[in-house]
Symmetry: C2
Subunit: 305 residues, 2 copies
Protein backbone atom coordinates (compact mmCIF):
# COMPACT_ATOMS: atom_id res chain seq x y z
CA UNK A 1 0.00 0.00 0.00
CA UNK A 2 1.33 3.47 -0.86
CA UNK A 3 1.60 5.91 2.07
CA UNK A 4 -1.12 7.97 0.38
CA UNK A 5 -3.43 4.96 0.34
CA UNK A 6 -2.75 4.19 4.01
CA UNK A 7 -3.65 7.74 5.04
CA UNK A 8 -6.88 7.82 3.06
CA UNK A 9 -7.83 4.35 4.19
CA UNK A 10 -7.52 5.36 7.81
CA UNK A 11 -9.82 8.32 7.26
CA UNK A 12 -12.40 6.27 5.37
CA UNK A 13 -12.59 3.49 7.93
CA UNK A 14 -12.96 6.03 10.69
CA UNK A 15 -15.71 7.79 8.76
CA UNK A 16 -17.61 4.54 8.30
CA UNK A 17 -17.32 3.79 12.02
CA UNK A 18 -18.54 7.25 13.02
CA UNK A 19 -21.51 7.20 10.69
CA UNK A 20 -22.57 3.67 11.56
CA UNK A 21 -22.22 4.46 15.26
CA UNK A 22 -24.43 7.53 14.99
CA UNK A 23 -27.10 5.76 12.96
CA UNK A 24 -27.13 2.75 15.31
CA UNK A 25 -27.57 5.05 18.29
CA UNK A 26 -30.38 6.96 16.63
CA UNK A 27 -32.15 3.77 15.60
CA UNK A 28 -31.56 1.60 18.62
CA UNK A 29 -31.03 -1.35 16.26
CA UNK A 30 -27.92 -3.33 15.44
CA UNK A 31 -25.76 -3.21 12.35
CA UNK A 32 -24.49 -6.52 11.03
CA UNK A 33 -20.86 -6.19 10.02
CA UNK A 34 -19.70 -8.40 7.20
CA UNK A 35 -16.02 -8.51 6.22
CA UNK A 36 -15.49 -9.89 2.72
CA UNK A 37 -12.67 -10.63 0.33
CA UNK A 38 -12.75 -10.91 -3.41
CA UNK A 39 -10.13 -12.54 -5.57
CA UNK A 40 -7.28 -12.41 -6.13
CA UNK A 41 -8.06 -12.83 -9.82
CA UNK A 42 -5.99 -11.54 -12.70
CA UNK A 43 -8.08 -8.37 -12.76
CA UNK A 44 -8.68 -7.56 -9.16
CA UNK A 45 -8.26 -8.29 -5.54
CA UNK A 46 -10.11 -6.56 -2.82
CA UNK A 47 -11.74 -6.63 0.53
CA UNK A 48 -14.26 -4.63 2.39
CA UNK A 49 -16.55 -4.25 5.33
CA UNK A 50 -20.24 -4.11 4.64
CA UNK A 51 -22.37 -2.89 7.52
CA UNK A 52 -26.10 -3.06 7.38
CA UNK A 53 -29.06 -2.49 9.64
CA UNK A 54 -32.31 -4.01 8.49
CA UNK A 55 -35.78 -3.62 9.92
CA UNK A 56 -34.79 -1.00 12.47
CA UNK A 57 -37.12 1.40 14.24
CA UNK A 58 -36.04 4.48 12.29
CA UNK A 59 -34.24 2.86 9.33
CA UNK A 60 -35.90 0.09 7.39
CA UNK A 61 -32.63 -0.59 5.58
CA UNK A 62 -29.38 1.28 6.14
CA UNK A 63 -26.25 0.04 4.42
CA UNK A 64 -22.78 1.50 4.68
CA UNK A 65 -19.83 -0.16 2.98
CA UNK A 66 -16.10 0.33 2.92
CA UNK A 67 -14.18 -1.28 0.09
CA UNK A 68 -10.57 -1.33 -1.05
CA UNK A 69 -9.60 -2.97 -4.30
CA UNK A 70 -6.34 -3.25 -6.16
CA UNK A 71 -5.63 -4.25 -9.73
CA UNK A 72 -2.75 -4.44 -12.17
CA UNK A 73 -4.52 -2.41 -14.88
CA UNK A 74 -6.74 0.62 -14.45
CA UNK A 75 -9.87 0.18 -16.65
CA UNK A 76 -10.25 2.98 -19.23
CA UNK A 77 -13.73 3.73 -17.85
CA UNK A 78 -12.12 4.82 -14.57
CA UNK A 79 -9.99 7.50 -16.19
CA UNK A 80 -12.09 9.46 -18.65
CA UNK A 81 -9.98 12.52 -18.07
CA UNK A 82 -6.63 10.75 -17.74
CA UNK A 83 -6.30 8.39 -20.68
CA UNK A 84 -2.54 8.26 -20.16
CA UNK A 85 -3.11 6.31 -16.91
CA UNK A 86 -5.25 3.55 -18.41
CA UNK A 87 -3.49 0.24 -17.89
CA UNK A 88 -1.44 1.37 -14.85
CA UNK A 89 -1.59 -0.55 -11.55
CA UNK A 90 -4.15 1.07 -9.26
CA UNK A 91 -5.86 1.05 -5.92
CA UNK A 92 -9.41 2.27 -5.33
CA UNK A 93 -11.08 2.74 -1.99
CA UNK A 94 -14.23 4.34 -0.74
CA UNK A 95 -17.13 4.53 1.64
CA UNK A 96 -20.63 4.38 0.22
CA UNK A 97 -23.96 4.49 1.99
CA UNK A 98 -27.67 4.55 1.35
CA UNK A 99 -30.14 4.90 4.22
CA UNK A 100 -33.81 4.06 3.68
CA UNK A 101 -35.92 5.27 6.61
CA UNK A 102 -39.21 3.66 7.59
CA UNK A 103 -41.21 6.86 8.07
CA UNK A 104 -42.17 8.30 4.65
CA UNK A 105 -41.57 11.81 5.94
CA UNK A 106 -37.88 11.07 6.46
CA UNK A 107 -35.90 11.27 3.21
CA UNK A 108 -33.53 8.64 1.89
CA UNK A 109 -29.88 9.71 1.88
CA UNK A 110 -26.90 8.66 -0.17
CA UNK A 111 -23.25 9.53 0.35
CA UNK A 112 -20.05 8.32 -1.24
CA UNK A 113 -16.39 9.35 -0.90
CA UNK A 114 -13.68 7.59 -2.83
CA UNK A 115 -10.12 7.82 -4.06
CA UNK A 116 -8.29 6.16 -6.91
CA UNK A 117 -4.47 6.07 -7.02
CA UNK A 118 -2.68 4.93 -10.15
CA UNK A 119 1.03 4.26 -10.32
CA UNK A 120 2.28 4.56 -13.90
CA UNK A 121 5.43 2.63 -14.87
CA UNK A 122 7.71 5.68 -14.98
CA UNK A 123 6.27 8.07 -12.52
CA UNK A 124 4.94 8.93 -9.13
CA UNK A 125 1.51 7.81 -7.91
CA UNK A 126 -1.36 9.98 -9.14
CA UNK A 127 -4.45 10.24 -6.94
CA UNK A 128 -7.87 11.64 -7.60
CA UNK A 129 -11.10 11.84 -5.65
CA UNK A 130 -14.81 11.55 -6.24
CA UNK A 131 -18.04 11.43 -4.33
CA UNK A 132 -20.81 13.54 -2.96
CA UNK A 133 -24.16 13.23 -1.21
CA UNK A 134 -27.77 13.70 -2.16
CA UNK A 135 -31.16 13.63 -0.51
CA UNK A 136 -34.32 11.91 -1.79
CA UNK A 137 -37.50 12.93 0.01
CA UNK A 138 -40.90 11.27 -0.40
CA UNK A 139 -42.60 14.38 0.98
CA UNK A 140 -41.01 17.70 0.17
CA UNK A 141 -39.98 20.20 2.85
CA UNK A 142 -38.15 23.29 1.69
CA UNK A 143 -36.32 23.73 4.99
CA UNK A 144 -34.87 20.20 4.72
CA UNK A 145 -33.53 20.77 1.22
CA UNK A 146 -32.14 24.16 2.24
CA UNK A 147 -30.43 22.74 5.33
CA UNK A 148 -28.89 19.88 3.37
CA UNK A 149 -27.59 22.15 0.62
CA UNK A 150 -26.38 24.80 3.08
CA UNK A 151 -24.35 22.16 4.92
CA UNK A 152 -22.82 20.99 1.65
CA UNK A 153 -21.95 24.56 0.67
CA UNK A 154 -20.37 25.24 4.04
CA UNK A 155 -18.25 22.09 3.76
CA UNK A 156 -16.90 23.21 0.39
CA UNK A 157 -16.55 26.93 1.17
CA UNK A 158 -12.95 26.77 2.51
CA UNK A 159 -11.81 25.20 -0.75
CA UNK A 160 -13.25 27.80 -3.09
CA UNK A 161 -16.61 29.52 -3.39
CA UNK A 162 -17.08 28.19 -6.91
CA UNK A 163 -17.05 24.53 -5.83
CA UNK A 164 -20.57 24.35 -4.38
CA UNK A 165 -22.41 25.68 -7.46
CA UNK A 166 -20.25 23.53 -9.72
CA UNK A 167 -20.79 20.33 -7.71
CA UNK A 168 -24.47 21.13 -7.17
CA UNK A 169 -25.03 21.30 -10.93
CA UNK A 170 -22.97 18.13 -11.41
CA UNK A 171 -25.25 16.39 -8.91
CA UNK A 172 -28.40 17.56 -10.72
CA UNK A 173 -26.96 16.35 -14.02
CA UNK A 174 -26.04 12.96 -12.62
CA UNK A 175 -29.05 12.08 -10.43
CA UNK A 176 -31.58 12.52 -13.18
CA UNK A 177 -34.00 9.82 -14.33
CA UNK A 178 -33.93 10.68 -18.00
CA UNK A 179 -36.63 8.12 -18.84
CA UNK A 180 -38.99 9.95 -16.46
CA UNK A 181 -37.68 13.46 -16.92
CA UNK A 182 -37.46 13.61 -13.14
CA UNK A 183 -34.68 14.33 -10.66
CA UNK A 184 -33.99 11.52 -8.18
CA UNK A 185 -34.34 13.89 -5.26
CA UNK A 186 -33.54 17.43 -4.21
CA UNK A 187 -29.89 16.93 -5.08
CA UNK A 188 -26.82 17.86 -3.14
CA UNK A 189 -23.26 17.77 -4.43
CA UNK A 190 -21.36 15.40 -6.69
CA UNK A 191 -17.85 15.46 -8.14
CA UNK A 192 -15.44 13.13 -9.84
CA UNK A 193 -11.86 13.05 -11.13
CA UNK A 194 -10.97 15.73 -8.61
CA UNK A 195 -7.32 16.56 -7.92
CA UNK A 196 -7.06 20.23 -8.76
CA UNK A 197 -6.11 21.27 -5.22
CA UNK A 198 -3.17 18.88 -5.13
CA UNK A 199 -3.23 15.78 -2.95
CA UNK A 200 -3.37 17.56 0.39
CA UNK A 201 -5.97 20.10 -0.62
CA UNK A 202 -8.12 17.63 -2.51
CA UNK A 203 -8.05 15.09 0.30
CA UNK A 204 -8.90 17.83 2.79
CA UNK A 205 -11.90 18.67 0.64
CA UNK A 206 -12.94 15.02 0.51
CA UNK A 207 -12.77 14.84 4.29
CA UNK A 208 -14.80 17.98 4.62
CA UNK A 209 -17.53 16.44 2.44
CA UNK A 210 -17.45 13.11 4.28
CA UNK A 211 -17.55 14.83 7.67
CA UNK A 212 -20.49 16.96 6.57
CA UNK A 213 -22.79 14.01 5.95
CA UNK A 214 -24.06 13.55 9.49
CA UNK A 215 -24.59 17.31 10.09
CA UNK A 216 -26.41 17.52 6.74
CA UNK A 217 -28.69 14.54 7.29
CA UNK A 218 -29.29 13.92 10.98
CA UNK A 219 -31.14 17.17 11.72
CA UNK A 220 -33.53 16.29 8.89
CA UNK A 221 -34.08 12.82 10.35
CA UNK A 222 -34.74 14.31 13.78
CA UNK A 223 -37.18 16.85 12.43
CA UNK A 224 -39.29 14.22 10.59
CA UNK A 225 -38.96 10.89 12.35
CA UNK A 226 -41.93 11.37 14.69
CA UNK A 227 -44.38 12.69 12.12
CA UNK A 228 -47.50 10.57 12.02
CA UNK A 229 -48.24 8.72 8.80
CA UNK A 230 -50.73 6.18 7.54
CA UNK A 231 -51.37 3.84 4.64
CA UNK A 232 -51.53 6.60 2.09
CA UNK A 233 -48.07 7.92 2.93
CA UNK A 234 -46.65 4.42 3.13
CA UNK A 235 -48.06 3.48 -0.30
CA UNK A 236 -46.62 6.66 -1.78
CA UNK A 237 -43.22 5.90 -0.26
CA UNK A 238 -43.14 2.35 -1.65
CA UNK A 239 -44.11 3.62 -5.08
CA UNK A 240 -41.49 6.36 -5.06
CA UNK A 241 -38.84 3.90 -3.94
CA UNK A 242 -39.34 2.27 -7.34
CA UNK A 243 -37.71 5.35 -8.82
CA UNK A 244 -34.68 4.78 -6.64
CA UNK A 245 -34.38 1.26 -8.00
CA UNK A 246 -34.84 2.47 -11.57
CA UNK A 247 -32.13 5.07 -11.21
CA UNK A 248 -29.62 2.80 -9.55
CA UNK A 249 -30.06 -0.18 -11.86
CA UNK A 250 -30.48 1.72 -15.13
CA UNK A 251 -28.44 4.90 -14.81
CA UNK A 252 -25.98 4.71 -11.96
CA UNK A 253 -22.61 3.99 -13.52
CA UNK A 254 -21.12 2.47 -10.37
CA UNK A 255 -24.00 0.05 -9.85
CA UNK A 256 -24.42 -0.91 -13.46
CA UNK A 257 -20.73 -1.29 -14.14
CA UNK A 258 -20.16 -3.10 -10.84
CA UNK A 259 -22.83 -5.70 -11.53
CA UNK A 260 -21.78 -6.24 -15.12
CA UNK A 261 -18.09 -6.53 -14.30
CA UNK A 262 -18.18 -8.99 -11.44
CA UNK A 263 -18.27 -6.74 -8.39
CA UNK A 264 -19.66 -8.02 -5.09
CA UNK A 265 -23.39 -8.09 -5.79
CA UNK A 266 -24.73 -7.94 -2.25
CA UNK A 267 -22.52 -4.97 -1.37
CA UNK A 268 -23.38 -3.10 -4.56
CA UNK A 269 -27.09 -3.69 -3.94
CA UNK A 270 -26.99 -2.27 -0.43
CA UNK A 271 -28.66 0.69 -2.08
CA UNK A 272 -31.84 -1.22 -2.89
CA UNK A 273 -34.84 -0.27 -0.77
CA UNK A 274 -36.29 -2.97 1.50
CA UNK A 275 -39.79 -2.93 -0.01
CA UNK A 276 -40.85 -1.35 -3.29
CA UNK A 277 -43.97 -1.18 -5.44
CA UNK A 278 -44.72 -0.43 -9.07
CA UNK A 279 -48.08 0.50 -10.57
CA UNK A 280 -49.10 1.67 -13.99
CA UNK A 281 -49.46 5.37 -14.74
CA UNK A 282 -49.67 6.22 -11.09
CA UNK A 283 -50.32 9.94 -10.76
CA UNK A 284 -50.97 12.12 -7.78
CA UNK A 285 -53.88 14.56 -7.69
CA UNK A 286 -52.92 18.20 -8.13
CA UNK A 287 -53.04 20.02 -4.81
CA UNK A 288 -51.74 17.06 -2.79
CA UNK A 289 -48.29 16.84 -1.17
CA UNK A 290 -47.56 13.80 -3.37
CA UNK A 291 -48.11 15.96 -6.44
CA UNK A 292 -46.04 18.79 -4.97
CA UNK A 293 -43.14 16.36 -4.51
CA UNK A 294 -42.66 15.71 -8.21
CA UNK A 295 -43.63 19.17 -9.42
CA UNK A 296 -41.90 21.37 -6.85
CA UNK A 297 -39.12 19.27 -5.35
CA UNK A 298 -37.90 16.73 -7.90
CA UNK A 299 -36.92 19.48 -10.32
CA UNK A 300 -33.74 21.46 -10.73
CA UNK A 301 -33.92 24.27 -8.23
CA UNK A 302 -31.50 26.56 -6.52
CA UNK A 303 -32.17 25.85 -2.88
CA UNK A 304 -29.82 28.55 -1.62
CA UNK A 305 -30.28 32.05 -2.92
Amino acid sequence: MTPIAATVREYLMGLQARIVGTIAQKDGGMFVSDAWEKGPTEQLQGHGITQILENGAVFERAGCGFSHVRGPKLPPSATQHRPELAGAPFEAMGVSLVFHPRNPYVPTAHMNVRMIVATPANGDPVAWFGGGMDLTPYYGFTEDAVHFHATCREALQPFGAELYPRFKTWCDDYFCLKHRNEQRGVGGVFFDDFSELGFDGSFAMLRSVGDAFLPAYMPVVERREHMVYGERERAHQLYRRGRYVEFNLVWDRGTHFGLQSGGRTESILLSMPPLVSWSYQHQAEPGTPEHALTHEFLVRRDWLT
Copy 2:
Protein backbone atom coordinates in the same frame (compact mmCIF):
# COMPACT_ATOMS: atom_id res chain seq x y z
CA MET B 1 -47.69 0.15 -44.15
CA THR B 2 -46.29 -2.66 -46.29
CA PRO B 3 -48.67 -5.59 -46.95
CA ILE B 4 -46.33 -7.73 -44.87
CA ALA B 5 -46.67 -5.36 -41.95
CA ALA B 6 -50.46 -5.29 -42.24
CA THR B 7 -50.65 -9.09 -42.10
CA VAL B 8 -48.39 -9.41 -39.10
CA ARG B 9 -50.11 -6.56 -37.32
CA GLU B 10 -53.46 -8.25 -37.66
CA TYR B 11 -52.08 -11.43 -36.14
CA LEU B 12 -50.40 -9.60 -33.25
CA MET B 13 -53.45 -7.55 -32.31
CA GLY B 14 -55.58 -10.68 -32.39
CA LEU B 15 -53.08 -12.51 -30.21
CA GLN B 16 -53.10 -9.71 -27.65
CA ALA B 17 -56.89 -9.76 -27.57
CA ARG B 18 -57.05 -13.54 -27.12
CA ILE B 19 -54.49 -13.59 -24.33
CA VAL B 20 -55.96 -10.65 -22.46
CA GLY B 21 -59.44 -12.15 -22.80
CA THR B 22 -58.33 -15.48 -21.35
CA ILE B 23 -56.45 -13.89 -18.46
CA ALA B 24 -59.35 -11.55 -17.64
CA GLN B 25 -61.74 -14.50 -17.57
CA LYS B 26 -59.45 -16.54 -15.34
CA ASP B 27 -58.92 -13.65 -12.97
CA GLY B 28 -62.36 -12.13 -12.89
CA GLY B 29 -60.72 -8.68 -12.85
CA MET B 30 -60.65 -5.96 -15.47
CA PHE B 31 -57.83 -4.92 -17.76
CA VAL B 32 -57.36 -1.23 -18.31
CA SER B 33 -56.67 -0.55 -21.97
CA ASP B 34 -54.49 2.41 -22.75
CA ALA B 35 -53.92 3.51 -26.34
CA TRP B 36 -50.86 5.71 -26.73
CA GLU B 37 -48.95 7.55 -29.42
CA LYS B 38 -45.34 8.64 -29.47
CA GLY B 39 -43.83 11.19 -31.79
CA PRO B 40 -43.55 11.80 -34.61
CA THR B 41 -39.98 12.86 -33.96
CA GLU B 42 -37.11 12.70 -36.40
CA GLN B 43 -36.19 9.25 -35.09
CA LEU B 44 -39.48 7.57 -34.49
CA GLN B 45 -43.19 7.54 -34.55
CA GLY B 46 -45.29 4.92 -32.99
CA HIS B 47 -48.41 3.89 -31.23
CA GLY B 48 -49.56 1.04 -29.13
CA ILE B 49 -52.13 -0.44 -26.84
CA THR B 50 -51.05 -1.21 -23.31
CA GLN B 51 -53.41 -3.45 -21.38
CA ILE B 52 -52.93 -4.04 -17.71
CA LEU B 53 -54.72 -5.73 -14.87
CA GLU B 54 -53.59 -4.69 -11.41
CA ASN B 55 -54.56 -6.11 -8.05
CA GLY B 56 -56.60 -8.98 -9.48
CA ALA B 57 -57.59 -12.14 -7.66
CA VAL B 58 -55.14 -14.40 -9.51
CA PHE B 59 -52.80 -11.83 -11.03
CA GLU B 60 -51.33 -9.11 -8.90
CA ARG B 61 -50.01 -7.39 -12.02
CA ALA B 62 -50.50 -8.60 -15.57
CA GLY B 63 -49.39 -6.39 -18.43
CA CYS B 64 -49.68 -7.10 -22.13
CA GLY B 65 -48.67 -4.51 -24.69
CA PHE B 66 -48.88 -4.18 -28.44
CA SER B 67 -46.66 -1.62 -30.09
CA HIS B 68 -45.91 -0.57 -33.63
CA VAL B 69 -43.17 1.92 -34.40
CA ARG B 70 -41.73 3.29 -37.59
CA GLY B 71 -38.54 5.19 -38.26
CA PRO B 72 -36.49 6.51 -41.13
CA LYS B 73 -33.27 4.81 -40.02
CA LEU B 74 -32.84 1.36 -38.54
CA PRO B 75 -30.47 1.60 -35.53
CA PRO B 76 -27.36 -0.55 -35.92
CA SER B 77 -28.20 -2.33 -32.63
CA ALA B 78 -31.32 -3.76 -34.28
CA THR B 79 -29.41 -5.49 -37.06
CA GLN B 80 -26.39 -7.22 -35.57
CA HIS B 81 -26.54 -9.84 -38.30
CA ARG B 82 -27.58 -7.55 -41.12
CA PRO B 83 -25.21 -4.57 -41.07
CA GLU B 84 -26.16 -3.78 -44.67
CA LEU B 85 -29.65 -2.75 -43.50
CA ALA B 86 -28.55 -0.24 -40.87
CA GLY B 87 -29.90 3.16 -41.79
CA ALA B 88 -32.83 1.85 -43.88
CA PRO B 89 -36.42 2.90 -43.12
CA PHE B 90 -38.06 0.33 -40.88
CA GLU B 91 -41.14 -0.77 -39.03
CA ALA B 92 -41.10 -2.79 -35.82
CA MET B 93 -44.10 -4.35 -34.12
CA GLY B 94 -44.66 -6.81 -31.35
CA VAL B 95 -46.66 -8.11 -28.45
CA SER B 96 -44.96 -8.38 -25.09
CA LEU B 97 -46.34 -9.60 -21.79
CA VAL B 98 -45.33 -10.28 -18.21
CA PHE B 99 -47.82 -11.77 -15.74
CA HIS B 100 -47.09 -11.62 -12.02
CA PRO B 101 -49.47 -13.88 -10.08
CA ARG B 102 -50.44 -13.24 -6.48
CA ASN B 103 -50.04 -16.83 -5.24
CA PRO B 104 -46.33 -17.62 -4.79
CA TYR B 105 -46.91 -21.14 -6.11
CA VAL B 106 -47.94 -19.76 -9.51
CA PRO B 107 -44.94 -18.81 -11.65
CA THR B 108 -44.43 -15.52 -13.43
CA ALA B 109 -44.58 -15.78 -17.22
CA HIS B 110 -43.07 -13.69 -19.99
CA MET B 111 -43.76 -13.88 -23.70
CA ASN B 112 -42.78 -11.69 -26.62
CA VAL B 113 -43.27 -11.99 -30.38
CA ARG B 114 -42.03 -9.31 -32.73
CA MET B 115 -41.13 -8.50 -36.31
CA ILE B 116 -38.88 -5.90 -37.87
CA VAL B 117 -39.19 -4.99 -41.57
CA ALA B 118 -36.54 -2.85 -43.23
CA THR B 119 -36.91 -1.40 -46.69
CA PRO B 120 -33.49 -0.63 -48.18
CA ALA B 121 -33.25 2.07 -50.87
CA ASN B 122 -32.77 -0.32 -53.76
CA GLY B 123 -34.52 -3.46 -52.78
CA ASP B 124 -37.51 -5.31 -51.49
CA PRO B 125 -38.56 -5.22 -47.84
CA VAL B 126 -36.64 -7.62 -45.61
CA ALA B 127 -38.41 -9.00 -42.53
CA TRP B 128 -37.13 -10.90 -39.54
CA PHE B 129 -38.65 -12.18 -36.35
CA GLY B 130 -37.76 -12.55 -32.71
CA GLY B 131 -39.32 -13.55 -29.44
CA GLY B 132 -39.97 -16.44 -27.15
CA MET B 133 -41.39 -17.23 -23.74
CA ASP B 134 -40.01 -18.22 -20.37
CA LEU B 135 -41.30 -19.23 -16.97
CA THR B 136 -40.10 -17.97 -13.57
CA PRO B 137 -41.32 -20.02 -10.62
CA TYR B 138 -40.94 -19.07 -6.95
CA TYR B 139 -41.44 -22.68 -5.93
CA GLY B 140 -40.15 -25.33 -8.29
CA PHE B 141 -42.34 -28.09 -9.71
CA THR B 142 -40.75 -30.37 -12.25
CA GLU B 143 -44.04 -31.14 -13.96
CA ASP B 144 -44.67 -27.43 -14.59
CA ALA B 145 -41.28 -26.91 -16.20
CA VAL B 146 -41.70 -30.07 -18.26
CA HIS B 147 -45.17 -29.06 -19.45
CA PHE B 148 -44.00 -25.57 -20.40
CA HIS B 149 -41.00 -26.84 -22.32
CA ALA B 150 -42.96 -29.65 -23.98
CA THR B 151 -45.50 -27.14 -25.25
CA CYS B 152 -42.71 -24.96 -26.64
CA ARG B 153 -41.11 -27.96 -28.34
CA GLU B 154 -44.40 -29.03 -29.86
CA ALA B 155 -44.98 -25.53 -31.23
CA LEU B 156 -41.62 -25.55 -32.96
CA GLN B 157 -41.63 -29.18 -34.11
CA PRO B 158 -43.34 -28.58 -37.51
CA PHE B 159 -40.59 -26.13 -38.43
CA GLY B 160 -37.64 -28.38 -37.73
CA ALA B 161 -36.66 -30.65 -34.87
CA GLU B 162 -33.45 -28.72 -34.29
CA LEU B 163 -35.26 -25.47 -33.42
CA TYR B 164 -36.37 -26.35 -29.89
CA PRO B 165 -32.90 -27.30 -28.56
CA ARG B 166 -31.36 -24.31 -30.29
CA PHE B 167 -33.93 -21.83 -28.94
CA LYS B 168 -33.93 -23.47 -25.51
CA THR B 169 -30.18 -22.91 -25.20
CA TRP B 170 -30.57 -19.37 -26.51
CA CYS B 171 -33.14 -18.74 -23.77
CA ASP B 172 -30.81 -20.11 -21.06
CA ASP B 173 -27.99 -17.91 -22.35
CA TYR B 174 -30.17 -14.82 -22.42
CA PHE B 175 -32.16 -15.09 -19.18
CA CYS B 176 -29.15 -15.42 -16.96
CA LEU B 177 -28.36 -13.09 -14.04
CA LYS B 178 -24.62 -13.08 -14.48
CA HIS B 179 -24.08 -11.00 -11.33
CA ARG B 180 -25.78 -13.79 -9.32
CA ASN B 181 -24.71 -16.76 -11.42
CA GLU B 182 -28.38 -17.69 -11.48
CA GLN B 183 -30.92 -18.36 -14.22
CA ARG B 184 -33.98 -16.10 -14.15
CA GLY B 185 -36.29 -19.09 -14.16
CA VAL B 186 -36.67 -22.52 -15.70
CA GLY B 187 -36.29 -21.08 -19.18
CA GLY B 188 -38.30 -21.77 -22.28
CA VAL B 189 -37.41 -20.65 -25.80
CA PHE B 190 -35.88 -17.48 -27.22
CA PHE B 191 -34.82 -16.48 -30.73
CA ASP B 192 -33.88 -13.37 -32.65
CA ASP B 193 -33.00 -12.27 -36.17
CA PHE B 194 -34.99 -15.20 -37.51
CA SER B 195 -35.86 -15.37 -41.21
CA GLU B 196 -34.31 -18.63 -42.34
CA LEU B 197 -37.65 -20.20 -43.32
CA GLY B 198 -38.51 -17.32 -45.64
CA PHE B 199 -41.26 -14.86 -44.75
CA ASP B 200 -44.14 -17.33 -44.86
CA GLY B 201 -42.37 -20.08 -42.95
CA SER B 202 -40.81 -17.76 -40.38
CA PHE B 203 -44.09 -15.95 -39.76
CA ALA B 204 -45.87 -19.31 -39.41
CA MET B 205 -43.30 -20.26 -36.79
CA LEU B 206 -43.82 -16.97 -34.95
CA ARG B 207 -47.57 -17.60 -34.91
CA SER B 208 -47.03 -21.09 -33.60
CA VAL B 209 -44.95 -19.72 -30.72
CA GLY B 210 -47.43 -16.94 -29.96
CA ASP B 211 -50.37 -19.35 -30.07
CA ALA B 212 -48.56 -21.75 -27.74
CA PHE B 213 -48.33 -19.28 -24.88
CA LEU B 214 -51.76 -19.91 -23.35
CA PRO B 215 -51.51 -23.72 -23.65
CA ALA B 216 -48.04 -23.57 -22.11
CA TYR B 217 -48.95 -21.32 -19.18
CA MET B 218 -52.61 -21.69 -18.27
CA PRO B 219 -52.47 -25.34 -17.16
CA VAL B 220 -49.67 -24.36 -14.79
CA VAL B 221 -51.75 -21.50 -13.40
CA GLU B 222 -54.71 -23.81 -12.91
CA ARG B 223 -52.64 -26.44 -11.18
CA ARG B 224 -51.16 -23.97 -8.65
CA GLU B 225 -53.61 -21.11 -8.11
CA HIS B 226 -55.47 -22.72 -5.22
CA MET B 227 -52.46 -23.91 -3.27
CA VAL B 228 -52.50 -22.51 0.26
CA TYR B 229 -49.67 -20.21 1.22
CA GLY B 230 -48.72 -18.04 4.16
CA GLU B 231 -46.34 -15.29 5.17
CA ARG B 232 -43.28 -17.39 4.57
CA GLU B 233 -44.14 -18.12 0.94
CA ARG B 234 -45.20 -14.52 0.36
CA ALA B 235 -41.93 -13.15 1.77
CA HIS B 236 -39.99 -15.55 -0.42
CA GLN B 237 -41.95 -14.46 -3.49
CA LEU B 238 -41.33 -10.74 -2.82
CA TYR B 239 -37.65 -11.40 -2.33
CA ARG B 240 -37.36 -13.47 -5.50
CA ARG B 241 -39.22 -10.80 -7.47
CA GLY B 242 -36.20 -8.61 -6.79
CA ARG B 243 -34.27 -10.86 -9.14
CA TYR B 244 -36.83 -10.19 -11.85
CA VAL B 245 -36.26 -6.46 -11.40
CA GLU B 246 -32.49 -6.89 -11.42
CA PHE B 247 -32.57 -8.91 -14.62
CA ASN B 248 -34.90 -6.58 -16.47
CA LEU B 249 -33.22 -3.32 -15.48
CA VAL B 250 -29.62 -4.47 -15.65
CA TRP B 251 -29.46 -7.15 -18.35
CA ASP B 252 -32.53 -7.10 -20.58
CA ARG B 253 -31.48 -5.35 -23.77
CA GLY B 254 -35.00 -4.31 -24.72
CA THR B 255 -35.75 -2.73 -21.35
CA HIS B 256 -32.40 -1.09 -20.89
CA PHE B 257 -32.18 0.21 -24.44
CA GLY B 258 -35.82 1.30 -24.41
CA LEU B 259 -35.43 3.37 -21.25
CA GLN B 260 -32.15 4.91 -22.33
CA SER B 261 -33.36 5.79 -25.82
CA GLY B 262 -36.64 7.47 -25.03
CA GLY B 263 -39.13 4.62 -25.30
CA ARG B 264 -42.47 4.80 -23.49
CA THR B 265 -41.45 4.24 -19.89
CA GLU B 266 -44.73 3.03 -18.44
CA SER B 267 -45.18 0.46 -21.21
CA ILE B 268 -41.61 -0.77 -20.95
CA LEU B 269 -41.97 -1.13 -17.20
CA LEU B 270 -45.11 -3.26 -17.43
CA SER B 271 -42.71 -6.05 -16.56
CA MET B 272 -41.99 -4.72 -13.07
CA PRO B 273 -43.57 -6.73 -10.26
CA PRO B 274 -46.19 -4.96 -8.12
CA LEU B 275 -44.37 -5.41 -4.80
CA VAL B 276 -40.75 -6.39 -4.28
CA SER B 277 -38.32 -6.70 -1.41
CA TRP B 278 -34.56 -6.78 -1.01
CA SER B 279 -32.57 -8.00 1.95
CA TYR B 280 -28.90 -8.55 2.55
CA GLN B 281 -27.36 -11.99 2.02
CA HIS B 282 -30.72 -13.66 2.19
CA GLN B 283 -30.19 -17.42 2.01
CA ALA B 284 -32.59 -20.30 2.27
CA GLU B 285 -31.88 -23.26 4.55
CA PRO B 286 -30.77 -26.41 2.79
CA GLY B 287 -33.61 -28.90 2.66
CA THR B 288 -36.33 -26.28 2.16
CA PRO B 289 -38.28 -25.72 -1.06
CA GLU B 290 -36.85 -22.19 -1.20
CA HIS B 291 -33.36 -23.67 -1.31
CA ALA B 292 -34.41 -26.26 -3.89
CA LEU B 293 -35.64 -23.44 -6.14
CA THR B 294 -32.23 -21.88 -6.64
CA HIS B 295 -30.24 -25.11 -6.54
CA GLU B 296 -32.44 -27.42 -8.60
CA PHE B 297 -34.62 -25.18 -10.74
CA LEU B 298 -32.79 -21.93 -11.49
CA VAL B 299 -29.97 -23.79 -13.18
CA ARG B 300 -29.45 -24.92 -16.75
CA ARG B 301 -31.30 -28.20 -17.08
CA ASP B 302 -32.74 -30.26 -19.88
CA TRP B 303 -36.36 -30.53 -18.86
CA LEU B 304 -37.27 -32.90 -21.72
CA THR B 305 -35.22 -36.04 -22.11
